[in-house]
Point group: C2
Amino acid sequence: MSTSQSTNETQEFPSITVAAVQMEPRVGCKAENLEVSLRLIAEAASAGAQIVVLPELVSSGYVFSSREEAFELAESVPAGFSTQAWEDAARQHNVYIIGGVAERVCHKLYNAAVMVGPEGYVGTYRKLHLWGDEHLYFEVGDFGLPVFHTPFGRLAMIICYDGWFPEVYRLLAMQGADIVCMPTNWVPMPGQGNGAMIMANTLAMANAHVNGLNIICANRVGTERGQLFVGNSIIVGADGWPLAAPGSADRQQILYADINLKASRQSRHLTTFNTVLRDRRTDIYDPMLGTGWQLPRY
Amino acid sequence: MSTSQSTNETQEFPSITVAAVQMEPRVGCKAENLEVSLRLIAEAASAGAQIVVLPELVSSGYVFSSREEAFELAESVPAGFSTQAWEDAARQHNVYIIGGVAERVCHKLYNAAVMVGPEGYVGTYRKLHLWGDEHLYFEVGDFGLPVFHTPFGRLAMIICYDGWFPEVYRLLAMQGADIVCMPTNWVPMPGQGNGAMIMANTLAMANAHVNGLNIICANRVGTERGQLFVGNSIIVGADGWPLAAPGSADRQQILYADINLKASRQSRHLTTFNTVLRDRRTDIYDPMLGTGWQLPRY
C-alpha cells in the first residue's frame, strides 16, 4: 500500500476535532471556576471541537488546606453542581466534555473525572494513583480502567499521576481505547532543564507511540497556595508525535487537534511483521506486572 | 532532608563512568568490525569508562541477504570470535563490555547481547521482540529478562525493539536493575519532525523516569543495503533526563556519562507519599498485562 493510497483512504474516514482547555481554577471558587469552564467549552465548541477536555479538579481547585475544605468543595456525581452544568453545556453545544471533580460519596472523597455528552451523563473515572497530599483527602480509585463507547470511538479517562504508569495505557489499549482524555494538574519534576520538553509531555508521547493511542492532556496553570502548576497541555497522536504543540507554561489557552481514528489504528502496524500491541511477549511477561490479587495501595 | 545534605551524601558514594560506543559496522566484515570495536573499547577505557556498550549485531552487521549469510556471520557464545576478543579486552582494560552478536546454536540463530568483564564471560541476553526481517533469520529470545550482579550494581541488557515494550523495563526494575545496557540498530520512525528528538530517545527517557533506571543506548550509524540507521545514541539518568546528549545522526562517536547509583535509587522516591515502583496499583492491574502462560510469539 503506497502512502498516497493510505492518505486517500484516511481522508474518506472523518476526523474528529478535539480540544484541551488549559485554565487556572482558584481553590474555593467553585461557581467562578465552573463559569470559566463553561465559557471555554462554548468557545471550543464554536471552534468546531467535538470532544473538550478540562483539567483535574477544575471546579474545586487542587491544594486543600483541610479535610473540611476538601469535603466542602466536593460534590456528588452525576447529581452535583459541576456534572449537571457540564451536562447542560454538552447538550446545548453537542459536544462531549471530560472534566475533573472532587467526588463525594458520604464520608469518602475521590479525585474523579466525569464524561458527559449530548445524550447526558456517560461515566466516571476515579484516579487510581494518588500524588502527594492527595493521600490526605482522597481514597484510591475503585472503578478500574473503564473504556466508554461514543459515536466517535472508544474513549477513556485517566488523571495526572496515572500517566506515570505504563500499565494504565497498556490496559486501555488492550481494551481497544482510541483516545485517552487526561485532566491533569502537573507540577514541576526535579531536574527539568531550561527549554527542555516537560517530562509529562515525554511520557504522553512515549505511551501514545507504543500503544497507538491518542492522548489529550489538559493541564491547569498558575500557583495555588505555593504550589506551581506547569501548563504545557498537549494533544498527542497515535504515532506518538504531538498534534498540538505544548501549551503555554502560564496562560489560559485552548489547544485543538484533528484526530483520525483510521490512521490511529493503522499506526499500530509498524512493519510487515510488526504490530506493536500483538508483538508483546506475554509468554515471558511475569505476574510481577500485576495480577489483580493484591490489596489496594492506600 | 535538604538538597545540600543529599548532594553531600551522594558525593560520598562513588559514581561509575559509562560509555556508549556509536559506530558503523559493515555487513560481512566481521574481522574489521571487531577490530574497530576493540579500538573504541580501548579509547573508552583510557578515558575512564568502566562499562562500555556497543551496538546491536556489531560484529556481523544487520541487513542479511540470505539465511546462509546470517548463519555464516553468526558465532557461538561464549566460545566464538567476538565474545573471546571482548573477554580479552575486558581483562586487559579492566572494563565491562556489552556487545551485540548473531548467536548460533546449531540450526538456530538469536539476536543476542553478551556481557564480559575483567573476570571473564558474565552472561547472554537474547532479544525478545524481533523487528521486521529479523523474523526471517532469528528465533525469539528464550532467556527471559535476566539481571546480572557486578561490582558496580545490577546490570541488565535489552536490544533495540525491546525498548518499545514498557513491560520489559518494569520487569527489570522490579528485579532491582540499576542500569539497562541497550545495544541498538535504531531505524527511522514515521512522522519524525525536523529537529525533533528521535522517538527512541523519548522512549528511553520515559522508561528511565517511571522506573528509576539508568539506560545506556549504543546505536549504530550508516546505511546498509538501503537501510538507514539513525545514530542518536543516548545515556539517560534514573530521573529520566539525558546524561549524555543524543549522539550524532551519522558519525562514529563515544558518549560518556557518570552514573551514581545512590542518586539513582533515591530518584525513585518522588514525594513523602510517592515511590514510583511501590505506587503501582497491582491490585487492579489485569492479567492482560501478561502472565506467562501463552505460547511464544514467533
